[in-house]
């Protein structure tokens, strides 16, 4: 009944236009009439009036929209009452397929004046394009249909119907929902900020949204071999880079980004790929080929072959993979880090040695890894070549001629006369002696034994000794051996005297008296006692004497029946010439 009364009043006052009153339809967010939204986006519009200084008792407004482009959120009660009129809502509904109407009447003072929001209405953009929401203002059509926008204004204490002088519609542009990742800026950020988290939202352009859109990200990461890597965002949509970075040089992590923006029923998607590499990885410079001879060693100073942006060289840990068993590696820095100091105690170095002699050049390949405290590492190939040993020389420094007494064995310790490099391979050398006609040559445990044929005497018996390594001849040496006969008593050139101990009868001394002698050697043979081995002894000069030479010897025991001893003395004079040997034969009982 009250509603009908209000209608009656409006109809009566229809032709009156209020001076300077205005009404507009604007965005609640931007307070603008020109509105851009995305397809599917929600538009909050408000009906805002300015009725001037004269109080107003109510308003009735009709809006026309294009249902094909905008969808009314609430079809039943499209409007929500604003704060300007606090009276009774007498109209709030869709009045046709394209129109909605709202009316409010204040029944009691105080009546509002000035400006304020009358009502709020929500639409959703449906299809891209431009559209309008307009006030019904046509005096012909709308008035006749009873859907004309007007308000009441008091005059003479009574409310009078008025038309708004200015009516401002809402012009709406509905854009396709759009998100776009700025790939260039994104990759530039990654390059310039290695290791930093990536604020992904910063690199997304989302067009046409009122306010900041909420972006949804889906991320996938994989390493260079296609193995998936765990990738995470923090609460601020920042890609957490730290654990994602590759650890070794040349490796990159591929991160696929998919951003989506859902606005109402509309969904926008964009994708991009970011490549992450690690600038803090220690970079190994190509190693030179390490080449050395077997038995010697080669040192590689590792610091010379690594660059690390983090300047953490001192904290690098080094390791070797594929170390050949034939090589020995040394160097304090291999897997040894003095953590109390934080640095390696010496410049990191590798010392290679080859223990075993080799016959031909051998090549080895291994991998050296440098790892910094962040576990970033690089791995480099290292080639090692071991050259076979060139035996510098095999030089028997024995005199070219050696003189022996008939039936006397002579022993030579080859290790004292052999110069071989390296010494370690000495035991690997196999010795051979070319057969000699009159001298038996035996080499055993480095000892060369020359055993003259029984009772043979002669000169210029050449013997040859061959050194072999791994079956191949390395060197050879020869010397001439002369065997002297035992001189007869009559031809003795100097005395050879045997002086027995008066009490200890097994002990005796051989004494010779001879001038101008540099060295004398006595050979003792026991011709009638095969159990007693011949013995060669160096004689010494008696103190305070220039020509008396002596050496002592003691038999283990005196054989029953006595023992015959032949003492043969040979030597060199002061001019290093062999002297004529002399000998004496004695019988001890």
């Amino acid at each position: 009944m009250r509603k009908q009364t209000a209608y009656a009043i409006l109809i009566i006052l229809v032709n009156v236009v209020a001076h300077s009153a205005s009404i507009q339809l604007r965005s609640i967010d931007s307070l603008k009439n020109e509105i851009t939204i995305q397809q599917g986006d929600l538009i909050d519009l408000e009906v805002f009036v300015d009725v001037g200084e004269i109080p107003s008792a109510g308003v009735e407004t009709y809006l026309t929209y294009e249902p094909g482009k905008l969808r009314l959120v609430n079809n039943e009660t499209p409007f929500q009452q604003g704060k300007f009129y606090t009276g009774t809502i007498v109209l709030n509904k869709a009045v046709s397929q394209t129109e909605v109407g709202f009316a409010v009447i204040s029944n009691a003072a105080p009546y509002p004046k000035g400006r304020g929001a009358v009502a709020k209405i929500q639409f959703i953009g449906r299809i891209a394009g431009e559209t309008k929401v307009t006030f019904n203002r046509d005096p012909q059509t709308h008035w006749r249909q009873g859907r004309y926008t007007l308000f009441t204004q008091f005059k003479d204490g009574k409310p009078r119907l008025r038309s708004f002088k200015d009516l401002t519609d809402a012009n709406i542009e509905i854009k396709n929902t759009l998100v776009k990742i700025d790939r260039y800026e994104l990759q530039r950020f990654v390059s310039e900020n290695p290791g930093k988290n990536i604020p992904l939202d910063k690199f997304v352009v989302a067009s046409g949204t009122e306010g900041r859109p909420k972006l949804n990200w889906v991320l996938n990461a994989e390493d260079g071999k296609g193995r998936p890597r765990k990738v995470e965002l923090n609460a601020a949509n920042q890609l957490i880079v730290g654990n994602l970075l590759p650890r070794s040089k040349g490796e990159v992590i591929k991160v696929d980004l998919r951003v989506s923006l859902k606005v109402g029923d509309s969904l926008a998607i964009d994708t991009a790929t970011v490549w992450l590499d690690n600038k803090g990885i220690p970079v190994l410079i190509r190693f030179p080929e390490v080449r050395f001879r077997a038995g010697s060693e080669e040192i590689l100073l590792l610091d010379n072959f690594v660059k690390d942006r983090d300047h953490k060289n001192a904290e690098l840990r080094w390791a070797i993979e594929g170390m050949p068993a034939a090589l020995v590696v040394g160097g304090v820095s291999v897997n040894r880090l003095d953590r109390t100091k934080g640095t390696i105690d010496n410049p990191p170095r590798l010392t290679f040695r080859s223990l075993n002699p080799i016959a031909s050049e051998q090549n080895f390949k291994m991998y050296v890894t440098a790892m910094d405290p962040d576990e970033n590492f690089d791995r480099g190939e290292l080639k090692v070549t071991v050259e076979p040993l060139p035996f510098v020389k095999l030089d028997l420094t024995l005199p070219n001629t050696i003189s022996l007494i008939k039936n006397e064995e002579h022993h030579i310790d080859l290790s004292r006369y052999l110069d071989v490099e390296p010494r370690e391979v000495f035991d690997e050398i196999a010795w051979e002696a070319l057969p000699s006609e009159h001298i038996e040559i035996i080499i055993k445990n480095r000892i060369l034994t020359l055993r003259p044929q029984r009772d043979w005497v002669g000169t210029a018996e050449k013997i040859k000794i061959v050194a072999k390594f791994e079956g191949k001849k390395v060197d050879e040496a020869s010397m001439t051996v002369s065997i002297f006969d035992l001189p007869e008593e009559a031809t003795k050139t100097f005395p050879v005297i045997l002086v027995r101990n008066p009490i200890i009868r097994t002990e005796f001394k051989i004494v010779s008296v001879l001038d101008n002698v540099a060295a004398l050697t006595v050979g003792l043979t026991f011709p009638e006692s095969p159990d007693l081995k011949p013995k060669t002894l160096m004689m010494g000069k008696i103190a305070q004497s220039r020509n008396v030479w002596v050496v002592n010897y003691e038999l283990e025991k005196l054989p029953v029946g006595g023992v015959k001893i032949v003492a043969s003395v040979i030597g060199r004079d002061n001019l290093n010439q062999n002297i004529t040997p002399s000998a004496g034969t004695f019988t001890l009982k």
């Binding site: 005395p495 005297i497 101990n501 008066p502 009490i503 200890i504 002990e507 008696i542 002596v550 283990e556």
Partner: protein
């Protein structure tokens, strides 16, 4: 008669005890003499043992025995002679001379070694002659030779060596 017999019997009994007492005393003194002789016999045993060691070539064992003897009896001729020969064999000629001279001083002309009856004072002189020779002191070596051959000789080194060889055979 009986009394006199008894008196005589008592007298005989007393005389018997007296004789028995005298005999007992003599017996104790004799035992003491025997014990002193045992000590001498023990040293001889050691010396013979040392002589055996020498003949077996166990010179160091003999050295220990001789030294032990000298601790009790510094002037023991056998031990000094034995050590002189041992040090001669070891080319320690000054030691050999020291012990040899001690032995020579103590030994009389009739001396024979307990550990080897073939060893006489002559051998000690020979040891000294050799030891002096090997130290280059040919004069003193000649002095010792003179003691052995009982005539005045003054031999040059080669002749001296030959003489030492001859005398030491």
């Amino acid at each position: 008669m009986n009394r006199s017999f008894l008196l005589d019997f008592a007298g005989y009994l007393f005389l018997g005890f007296l004789i028995l007492g005298i005999w007992s005393c003599a017996d104790r003194e004799y035992n003491n003499l025997v014990q002193e002789d045992v000590i001498v016999v023990d040293k001889t045993t050691d010396l013979k043992k040392a002589g055996k060691k020498l003949s077996e070539g166990k010179v160091d064992d003999a050295l220990g025995i001789f030294n032990a003897i000298l601790k009790d009896d510094e002037s023991n001729i056998d031990a000094n002679a034995g050590l002189a020969s041992i040090y001669l064999s070891k080319n320690q000629f000054s030691e050999s001379i020291k012990y040899g001279n001690r032995a020579v001083e103590e030994a009389d002309a009739e001396y024979t070694a307990t550990f080897n009856p073939k060893i006489s004072k002559r051998h000690i002189h020979l040891i000294l002659a050799q030891a002096y020779f090997y130290t280059g002191n040919f004069n003193k070596s000649n002095d010792q030779i003179r003691q052995v051959v009982s005539r005045n000789v003054n031999l040059q080194p080669d002749a001296l060596a030959k003489e030492l060889q001859r005398l030491s055979r």
